[in-house]
């Protein structure tokens, strides 16, 4: 089988301007900083970023925002990154970010649907709110639900704790977050990992993401402070 282990620069070299990219993590915890750094270095522009939040300036997705690489941000919360607010309303079209807010549970489920071949799902979340605007409402078993559609991306950048050379991943603590569903919902998946292990080193019962989803493995991730 092909060797998936690469440098960060090699791994992100496939990402072009205008790409859609899912990034794992929650407030930076569980985000692959080394892959973000390589993406800043590569300086591709007009990206659509799908991530729980916008990180903070200088951390996680926040680095891409500060560097002006993000055109569209699909997230559940961007409040801890004031730079996003500025760019949402800025005059320069080149620096402006369009921000699409999605309830966190709906975001996770839309990504899961994208990765598991579902055409959509019915959720009670958002009924009667502005989240429902433009969406089909279905009445099932006496209750209203929004029809939410699947979400996929060209790329996913994951953050693993231990990854074997086939790409099987485990995540420690609360670094798991969106990484697990994103692994299935992107055409090309890159994992930045703290440790690269021999194939077979992870108990098959405890593999959290299968290596079949993973295209590239990059070592050197750390346990970052937030």
């Amino acid at each position: 089988m092909k060797d998936k282990v690469k440098t960060a620069a090699e791994a992100v070299s496939v990402i072009q301007d205008g790409a859609s990219i899912m990034v794992g993590g929650f407030m930076g915890c569980g985000t692959p900083e080394i892959l973000i750094d390589a993406l800043v270095e590569r300086n591709v522009r007009n990206l659509t970023i799908i991530c729980n939040d916008a990180g903070v300036p200088g951390r996680g997705v926040g680095k891409l925002v500060s560097n002006g690489q993000v055109k569209t941000l699909i997230a559940s919360h961007v409040g801890l990154n004031p730079e996003v607010g500025k760019r949402m309303t800025c005059e320069e079209p080149e620096d402006r970010i369009e921000c699409i807010l999605v309830p966190q549970g709906t975001l996770a489920e839309r990504i899961r649907a994208g990765g598991t071949g579902l055409g959509g799902f019915l959720t009670p979340t958002g009924v009667g709110t502005i989240v429902a605007e433009g969406k089909q409402v279905l009445h099932v078993n006496g209750r209203d639900y929004l029809l939410e559609l699947p979400l996929r991306a060209d790329f996913a950048l994951l953050r693993g704790t231990i990854t074997d050379t086939f790409g099987n991943i485990t995540y420690n603590g609360t670094t798991r977050t969106f990484n697990q569903v994103m692994a299935m919902a992107a055409d090309h998946v890159i994992v930045g990992t703290c440790e690269i292990a021999e194939i077979g080193a992870i108990d098959p019962n405890n593999v959290m993401t299968s290596g079949i989803f993973v295209d590239s493995i990059v070592g050197g991730e750390k346990q970052w402070q937030i």
């Binding site: 929650f26 407030m27 930076g28 915890c29 729980n52 939040d53 997230a75 559940s76 919360h77 961007v78 409040g79 801890l80 607010g85 949402m88 309303t89 807010l101 309830p103 966190q104 549970g105 709906t106 975001l107 996770a108 489920e109 990504i111 899961r112 959720t123 009670p124 979340t125 958002g126 009924v127 009667g128 709110t129 502005i130 989240v131 704790t161 995540y171 420690n172 603590g173 609360t174 670094t175 798991r176 977050t177 969106f178 990484n179 697990q180 569903v181 959290m208 346990q223 970052w224 402070q225 937030i226």
Partner: protein, 216 residues
């Protein structure tokens, strides 16, 4: 009057039963865990992926891989579980969280909740709030009764909804209100306030419970 936040948090704590699975919002709700009776052990859920969250980590002893939804380093208790975001919101939306406690910008007599958009200000995003209030078995709003004198408990919310018909109970420094099909029923009143004062601080007409008790 004692610290307003503490009054509220102490009263909210009495709503929780031994074994309850509870999600606490950021800020005041987090204080609730400090006022539980000795024999009440709740299971704290954090929507970023913890069942069985413990207290904040001691400085210098943080595990940077373990944060809560407010991005603070926390601990986990024996018997905890870590999980991913889809599972986390499956638990929440599926009705497996017994109670969620969070603040509000506005609540109205129908149990509608507005707590995420202030017009003219940057919209930070709803995070997990919309899922939590729709999914949790019991939604308790813990907040100050008014905002600099302005009503927060209304006939109809004027700010964009977080969700409709979801609030079960409102606990403020003035009293305890339950949402019923007929409107808000005041079930407890804090001894520092009169009925008139509570009604004046509330836009919608309060139904006073025939069994009104002092709030402790």
């Amino acid at each position: 009057m004692a610290d307003i936040k503490e009054i509220i948090a102490r009263r909210v704590a009495k709503e929780l039963k031994d074994g309850d699975v509870v999600n606490l919002g950021i800020g005041l709700p987090t204080m609730v865990a400090n006022f539980l009776p000795e024999d009440v052990h709740i299971v704290l859920q954090s929507e970023n992926g913890i069942m069985g969250m413990g207290p904040a980590a001691e400085p210098g002893k943080e595990d940077v891989d373990i944060i809560n939804a407010g991005a603070q380093y926390v601990t986990v208790l024996p018997g905890a579980q870590f999980f991913d975001s889809a599972t986390s919101f499956g638990v929440i939306r599926g009705g497996h969280v017994d109670a969620t406690i969070l603040g509000a910008l506005q609540v109205d007599k129908h149990g509608n909740l507005a707590n995420w958009i202030v017009p003219g200000k940057m919209v930070p995003g709803m995070g997990g709030a919309m899922d939590l209030v729709v999914g949790a078995k019991k939604v308790i709003i813990a907040m100050q009764h008014t905002q600099k004198g302005a009503h927060k408990i209304l006939d109809e919310c004027t700010l964009p909804y977080t969700a409709i018909n979801v609030v079960d109970m409102i606990i403020t420094e003035m009293g305890v209100m339950e949402v019923t099909p007929d409107g808000l029923v005041l079930t407890e009143i804090h001894p520092d306030f009169t009925l008139d004062q509570v009604q004046e601080a509330t836009e919608c007409k309060l139904i006073v419970s025939p069994d009104l008790k002092p709030m402790k």
